[in-house]
């Protein structure tokens, strides 16, 4: 890439301070989605693995940030070929402070940090499917490998100006394919390899803390405005449409899910409200720059009902998608991506028109290509990576450790100390000075 030339060109965009400020704030908003996701998932697991669930998201903030700096940004967004970016930005060394993202009024660093937050949350999304049963070291290695082999290239396919899906005209405004289908398909690939939790379909595994789930959902909803509106990379009317569509679709999806489960199962549940909201956020992610506000209602309702129906599939087909990453993110991402082919007005951010706006079937066909290629690639790669990890170091904890609970076994902590009874203070048991030390020495995490 030769960005210096672009900044010198006479008609090139100048630094736009409004957009720069908005995208920096959006980056911070997207960052808070990862802790939000941690709480959303953390409240849904049983009490004995709550901390592990939080950590599976938080570790992504650590690992992926470093990988992004070293090579992720370069492989994803430097100009290369249709499938992978180049190497000019390895280590983020040769980026000028004044250098602008080609075609936009924001510095490259602003784009880099905004996209970093996407790279962080995407692997974290997968964690919900693996609840209660995987080694922390295996998970950490998995997200590093998956980000390298899958996320960085796929982000290039979808968003880089020379990415093959981008050049074809596949629309993904903020990550319906690159983030949600990508993560959902990876989750499916991994759980098909590592298998079910002990007691799946037999033991009750109800959420241990629904208020935490609601808190996480609220943080996700809040952060998602940065995720979607920020993806326009400017602060103007299109960003505003993406913003308002995000709110509308999410509201519609929450109502859709709630009505579905009231009719089907008899109650309006808290978990249903949170799940419906997230399903709507997922579905409007690719489409928020293509549809009208009324179209956003349709996208939301369809996603809410489709995802509410899809989460039951794991019982029918017997795969343990513990917290419904496939049912919500993969299905929601597919719904949102394909509905662009029907509801794109051509008058918002993108010019492509869907079936209902006289555009014919062309865009829908393109969306199918986007959905199918990302889904297939991610699922296959994730399954292979999971298998490699499983046969070398082992992906899962032992059955004993799983029953005891991964919080204690992997992290040597307990989420809640309700009574303050039963644990001696550390001072009374100096590590290594008693026979306890050998017994408490933890097995390989």
């Amino acid at each position: 890439m030769a960005p210096a030339i672009i900044t010198l060109a006479a008609d090139a965009p100048k630094l736009d301070t409004g957009s720069t400020a908005f995208i920096l704030i959006s980056a911070a908003l997207v960052m808070v989605m990862t802790p939000g996701l941690a709480f959303f998932y953390g409240g849904m697991v049983r009490v004995k693995s709550a901390l592990n669930m939080l950590m599976m998201s938080f570790i992504s903030l650590g690992i992926i940030t470093i990988l992004w700096t070293l090579y992720g940004f370069s492989f994803a967004f430097d100009s290369g070929n249709g499938f992978l970016g180049g190497t000019d930005w390895l280590g983020m060394r040769d980026i000028g402070i004044a250098e602008l993202w080609p075609g936009y009024g924001i510095p490259v660093y602003v784009f880099a940090v905004f996209q970093l937050m996407f790279a962080v949350i995407t692997p974290a999304l997968i964690s919900g499917a693996l609840a209660d049963r995987v080694k922390f070291t295996a998970w950490s290695l998995f997200i590093a490998l998956w980000a390298t082999v899958v996320y960085f290239p796929v982000a290039h396919w979808v968003w880089a100006s020379d990415g093959w899906l981008f050049k074809k005209g596949v629309i993904d405004f903020a990550g319906g394919t690159a983030v949600h289908i990508n993560a959902g398909a990876a989750a499916l690939g991994v759980i098909l390899v590592i298998g079910k939790r002990n007691g799946f379909k037999k033991d009750p595994m109800r959420p241990h803390n629904l208020p935490l789930v609601m808190l996480g959902c609220g943080l996700l909803w809040f952060g998602w405005f940065g995720f979607n509106a920020g993806s326009w990379l400017g602060s103007d009317g299109v960003a505003a449409v993406a913003f308002i569509n995000t709110q509308i679709a999410t509201a519609a999806a929450m109502l859709g899910w709630l009505l579905y489960e009231r009719l089907r199962h008899g109650s309006f549940t808290t978990l249903g409200a949170a799940s419906g909201a997230v399903a709507g956020l997922v579905a409007i992610t690719p489409s928020c720059g293509s549809v009208s506000p009324l179209g956003a209602i349709a996208v939301g309702v369809i996603a809410g009902v489709a995802c509410a129906a899809a989460v039951g599939l794991k019982y029918r087909f017997n795969y343990d998608d513990s917290l419904d990453v496939v049912g919500v993110h993969m299905v929601g991402g597919i719904v949102g991506s394909l509905l662009i082919g029907f509801f794109a007005t051509g008058g918002v951010g993108q010019t492509a028109k869907g079936v209902f706006y006289g555009g014919g079937w062309h865009q829908l066909g393109l969306q199918f290509i986007g959905v199918g290629s990302v889904l297939g690639y991610s699922l296959v790669c994730a399954a292979i990576l999971a298998k490699l990890i499983d046969v070398t170091m082992g992906f899962r904890v032992t059955d004993d450790e799983e029953v005891t609970g991964v919080d204690q076994v992997l992290h040597a902590e307990t989420a809640y100390d309700f009574a303050g009874v039963g644990s001696r203070s550390a001072a009374s048991v100096p590590a290594g000075s008693s026979s306890d030390a050998a017994a408490s020495k933890k097995v390989d995490a």
Binding site: P204, R206, E261, T269, L271, G272, S275, V311, D324
Partner: protein
């Protein structure tokens, strides 16, 4: 001495405490408990998956009393705990050999 144990619905605790105070009981112990009797459990639904929850939250109240007061005290507890619906709980009493007030070392009824 007798130990009166009552396993009752959690939301009756305040009524029971007030009734016992009016009766002149100066101390009791309350623990959160779970269990079921004829009430059995209930069904919860999470994302369409139904869970049968067998054990229902209850509270267990324990009171040490003089033999003479035992029957009357049981009546007080039962009256305060009753809602008339299934799941109101049980109250029973057991004989107690001895009791010691830890601070002073007093024994028997003096320790109450």
């Amino acid at each position: 001495m007798k130990l009166i144990t009552a396993v009752v619905k959690p939301h009756r605790l305040d009524e029971i405490k007030e009734a016992l105070q009016a009766f002149g009981v100066h101390g009791l112990t309350v623990t959160e408990a779970s269990g079921y009797g004829r009430q059995r459990g209930h069904t919860e639904v999470y994302r369409g998956a139904e869970y049968t929850v067998d054990l229902v939250p209850k509270i267990r109240i324990e009171i040490l009393v003089d033999d003479a007061d035992a029957d009357q005290l049981i009546e007080v507890v039962v009256k305060a705990a009753r809602t008339g619906k299934i799941g109101d709980g049980k109250v029973w009493s057991l004989p107690v050999d001895t009791a010691v007030r830890v601070r002073t070392g007093e024994r028997g009824p003096d320790a109450l």
